[in-house]
Amino acid sequence: MIGNYEDPRKTFGAAVCQVGFDDERIVLLSADSGKSSGFGPFIEKCPERYFEFGIMEQTMTGAASGLATTGKIPVICAIAPFVTARNYEMFRNDVGYMRQNVKIVGRNGGITYSDLGSTHHSLDDFALAGMIPGVVVLFPQDPNEIREAVKAMLEHKGPVYMRIGNAKQENLFDGGFEIGKARLICQGKDVTLVTTGSTTAEAMKACKSLKTRGIFVEHLGIATIVPLDEKAILESAAKTGLVVVAEEHYEAGGLGSRVAELLACNGCSARIIRLAIPHDYAISGPYDEVMAYYGLDAKGIENGIKRKILTF
């Protein structure tokens, strides 16, 4: 229900279990991460299709590829850096290059393990996964989108990487998720705001506040980073002439980089501002405070836009 808050891991796990109970092609793999990924009910009900690997992300990824060659649909889920960076060559070669129907889900992604240090952050996962040819990269923006994205990724034939967070998320939307499609959250004429996953809810608050100050934002919510909805972004950028991208990722290699490349390569003269995490090892602390520190809460996004509008 719109306005309700949910734990994204539980939402994700329940969604996978719901499809997996009846679809015998679905197998779940764990690197000592099954229960915390919400796979508990599946472990109880379908133990023969659940494979525990212990803390062995490399082999789990290779094995997922092998399982996929036999027609199974393996889903692996663990803390995001360990299923993107730790196992990168297996992701690239065994899943990507072999073009296998494997779904890799990085939970507690981005900076959500904000007080655990940079070893547990994945501020480069869009860059890593997105650099592997043929991999779809998703970051759903609310629990309802997580449910829809799980269904869509399991129906999609080919490798998918999906990031989910940890902090409770508000239900913002009721349906309408489609792989590769941007969501037009609100129309505006002054600036195009592009957000993904965790920054969308805060950005929606920023848009409301800016409207009261006479700044009309066109807000595009991007749950699919690869393949990007290029048409939606280019059309909006051509209309407003200023694009602000806010994301929980490094400035380099994330959605902002992809949008900048898109605009530059298509002769779009719109200016672009990236609100993201600086390319450094991040500060530690409570998640909300860390996001505010980097200007990725509602106030930070609003200020980021205002500053640019005033100097534009």
């Binding site: 197998v27 023969e48 299709r49 494979f51 690997f53 212990g54 062995m56 490399q58 082999t59 789990m60 990824t61 290779g62 094995a63 997922a64 590829s65 092998g66 399982l67 996929a68 060659t69 036999t70 027609g71 199974k72 393996p74 060559e89 297996m90 070669n93 065994d94 290059y97 072999m98 073009r99």
Partner: protein, 278 residues
């Protein structure tokens, strides 16, 4: 098929490999020749496989974890009729279906895209899990290099295969004792290989990996094992079949001139009693 016939086929396959090396001017000859007898035995005497139906669901699978030994797999697949031998002449050419490390999307019979070492065993154990779920009798075979054992990811997979009791998984370690920069035991010593696998809970068999009779006996024994995955530590000779190259690290990757190639062909034909059959 008896051992003499298998040896003759392996000799023809070595000639196929030389044909590819002649076409491109180079290739990973040493390791391909050390495991050629094993790969030949697998496709001709052990595996449930059919070149006319290469993707049948209940097929046995061979994963060449040491993907650089692909001259061996290409040679045997071509000999068995998985694809026309004309392809052998495209080895190294622009757009070839036979890249220097195998690509499953380019050729029938190739089951995984190996090349980066330390990947094949994990992929194979996933296949073995999938096959077991499907309740077929299919088996998964892996050929690993000995130098490859230094990749830590292998030992994750060794542990996982034993933990999950994948009795339908059988691994050959092509223990030719040499890697690109010298003796394996000098570069990074993983001997005794048998004890290491055994300590992880594997069934271990040691053989002369260039002796067909011993290869077949080991495979039969592995098939009967009902509790553990099996590793066959195959003592082999690098560049086996070409006397001037045998047991020399320099022949890991070979860029021969025509005279060397002709000599190598002569040795192989003479040893197997093959006639000129071009």
């Amino acid at each position: 098929m008896d051992c003499h016939e298998l040896k003759q086929i392996a000799a023809k396959c070595r000639l196929n490999a030389l044909r590819m090396i002649r076409a491109s001017g180079h290739g990973h000859m040493g390791g391909a020749f050390s495991c050629m007898d094993i790969v030949t035995a697998l496709y001709y005497a052990e595996m449930n496989c059919d070149p006319a139906d290469p993707y049948k669901a209940d097929r046995d699978r061979l994963i060449l974890s040491a993907g650089h030994k692909c001259l061996a797999q290409y040679s045997v697949l071509a000999e068995k009729g998985y694809f026309t031998k004309k392809y052998l002449d495209t080895y190294g050419a622009l757009g070839t279906k036979l890249p220097g490390h195998p690509d499953m999307h380019k050729l029938p019979g190739i089951e995984a895209n190996t090349g980066a070492l330390g990947h094949g065993l994990a992929i194979a154990l996933g296949m073995a899990m999938g096959i077991r779920l499907d309740k077929t009798d299919a088996r998964v075979y892996v050929v690993m290099g000995d130098g490859e054992l230094a990749e830590g990811s292998n030992w994750e997979a060794v542990a996982a295969a034993a933990h999950h009791k994948l009795t339908n998984l059988c691994v050959f370690v092509d223990f030719n004792g040499l890697q690109i920069s010298g003796r394996v035991q000098d570069v990074m010593d993983f001997t005794p290989i048998e004890k290491r696998f055994a300590s992880f809970g594997w069934n271990v068999i040691t053989i002369d990996g260039n002796d067909m009779k011993q290869i077949l006996a080991a495979l039969e024994s592995a098939r009967k094992m009902q509790q553990k995955p099996t590793v066959i530590v195959a003592n082999t000779i690098k560049a086996k079949g070409v006397p001037f190259a045998e047991d020399k690290a320099a022949y890991h990757f070979w860029s021969p001139d025509e005279e060397e190639l002709a000599q190598a062909e002569m040795f192989i034909k003479a040893e197997a009693g093959l006639q000129e059959d071009k």
